[in-house]
Amino acid sequence: MKARYPMEAFALAMVIFSQNMRDALITGILILLIATLGLVLDGSVGIRLPKWSRISCSIILMVSLTYSLFQIVLRAILGYNIDTSTSIFHIFLGLLIANHILYGEEDRNYNLLLLEGAGAFATLLIISIIREFMAEGTVYGFKLAEINFRSNGFTHVVAGFILAGLGLAVLNKIFKYKDVKSEGIYVILPVALLVQPFTIDSIESSVGMVIAILAVMFMVYSINKHLVFSKLSKEIKNLPAELVSAGMVYMILSMF
């Protein structure tokens, strides 16, 4: 079966944009808005186009719309500074939304899209609250408690991967998804490209970056091959398990 909401896009948001509640709130609602708009447009116009045109138009439209909306909302309206890597992640979000529009459930049910999308949004917010509180003792920038066991490690992608995997497993259970078709590589690859777990100082930085990316992808691939033969429950299979294993890979490689 296929997800009825843009699961990979929300997964990427849970990994990268859940460091604090403010980013999670904006990212989640914009993903939902862009996905809904894209599905409506595809349902009205896209189905009349030849397949090659529909694919390219969807990708171009979703990527440009995602990038533009995030720039407008974050920079112009809210006045935040966005660095280059964040902008690149927005582009990847657009690609993942386009992927959902093109290859998602063919029989579109907007009720379930909004319901399950809201569930994913809520999960994203809960993850962001956990990460922000454990890292800084604040929620949405408001200090709730002075706690001694704070750890900046919760802002690292390791925590994002693990919490995202667990959150998606819970969502699959709630929505009664069994063996949902999803591609973890679409979520893990952008993170590996932009956030490396280690750097090698003694060689050229670009070569070191390539080595780090290849190390991550190789380890994730080999784990996924092993997971095929393991007995996982249907809710955890595919994306949730791949995200948790990616988190473990990052945790191990970050030690170097």
């Binding site: 409506v40 349902g43 309206i77 809210l78 500074n81 579109r108 907007y110 909004l114 920038g141 802002t155």
Partner: protein, 330 residues
């Protein structure tokens, strides 16, 4: 089909309304605890000040302005620059002299680094090392070897060794003494070598042997004289080749030396390796001496245990330098 399209439009309308509500609510609720909010205010303040420089398109540069005196002459430049630290951006204000190269001082604007690690950047002793040094900056011993004319750390030479002073110490005690060796390279050649040992009381072996408190033989050279002879061998040969040792660590290559030279050899080889690459070269003035004003780049100490923060500081200072260099060069 038509029904589904209508549902889609209704769903889109609902999501749009909710989005507007969330975004508007965020605008009201956002609290300026993060660097983004503070940076926006700083940016606004800098832009309101006279001499503001347009920073649009400059990555990592929050704001910049010219500093002028009462007559309107430019006396310096202030650049607010940021780079990603361990978790969040680190923002500094770097004030350059009017040559757009010498750093007058630096100030920490904001950061979210870990107390005891990256947050140590706020210590005055750490910030003071930036005063008077030239940009671009590097960590000590990591400056590119091709930068000629620098008076800090190692500089490139044609002889094979990099100019500088190299200090190495043994990690463990040997018969009650720690050993240390200092090697000085000038114009590519080793010009001075000092080898000594220190006991737990802080007494140097060279001193003890000079005053008769450390005696090996009544007839032979004192320990200090033998250490100096070994040092002279390295200066004459510019290496430790030829200093073959037997199973007791003794050598016949240097007349009058009967002490075990294993410690000397180990430290000398280490120092020569460092001198070959320039790694770990120190200023003549000591570890914390800032680079003189005539050097072409500056070297700073890293923040212990805070690699991400140190790298962020290097990045933001060098970005600020690149920006103001391009601006002043117009």
């Amino acid at each position: 089909m038509k029904d589904n399209r209508l549902k889609g439009i209704i769903a889109l309308a609902v999501v749009t309304v909710i989005s507007f509500g969330v975004i508007y609510g965020s605008k009201i609720l956002v609290k300026d605890n993060t660097t983004n909010g503070n940076t926006t205010d700083n940016n606004q303040n800098q832009q309101d000040l006279p001499g503001a420089i347009d920073v649009s398109g400059a990555e990592g540069i929050v704001s910049a302005r010219e500093l002028t005196d009462d007559s309107g002459n430019v006396t310096g430049y202030s650049v607010v620059s940021e780079a990603k630290g361990f978790a969040k951006p680190v923002t500094w204000e770097i004030i350059f002299e009017n040559d757009a190269k010498t750093i007058r001082e630096v100030k920490v604007v904001s950061h979210a680094e870990t107390p005891g690690y990256g947050a140590n950047m706020e210590e005055e002793s750490y910030l003071n090392q930036f005063k008077g040094i030239k940009a671009p900056i590097y960590l000590k011993g990591q400056a590119p070897a091709s930068d000629a004319g620098s008076e800090s750390g190692a500089s490139d030479t044609t002889e094979g060794f990099k100019d500088g002073i190299y200090r190495v110490e043994s990690e463990e005690m040997d018969n009650g003494y720690y050993y240390m060796l200092t090697l000085k390279v000038e114009n590519g050649a080793i010009t001075n070598v000092v080898f000594d040992g220190m006991n737990e009381l802080g007494e140097y072996k060279s001193y003890l042997s000079s005053v008769g408190k450390y005696v090996m033989t009544e007839d032979g050279l004192t320990w200090k004289e033998q250490a100096d002879a070994l040092a002279q061998y390295v200066i004459e040969h510019q290496s430790v080749k030829g200093l073959a040792v037997d199973e007791n660590g003794k050598t016949d290559a240097v007349a009058g030396v009967s002490i075990s030279i294993n410690n000397f050899l180990e430290l000398a080889e280490k120092a020569l390796e460092m001198a070959a690459t320039g790694e770990g070269a120190q200023n003549a003035g000591g570890d914390n001496a800032p680079v003189s004003a005539d050097g072409e780049f500056g070297e700073i100490d890293a923040i212990s245990g805070a690699t991400f923060t140190t790298n962020a500081i290097l990045e933001l200072v060098n970005n600020a330098y690149e920006f103001i260099k391009n601006y002043a060069g117009k």
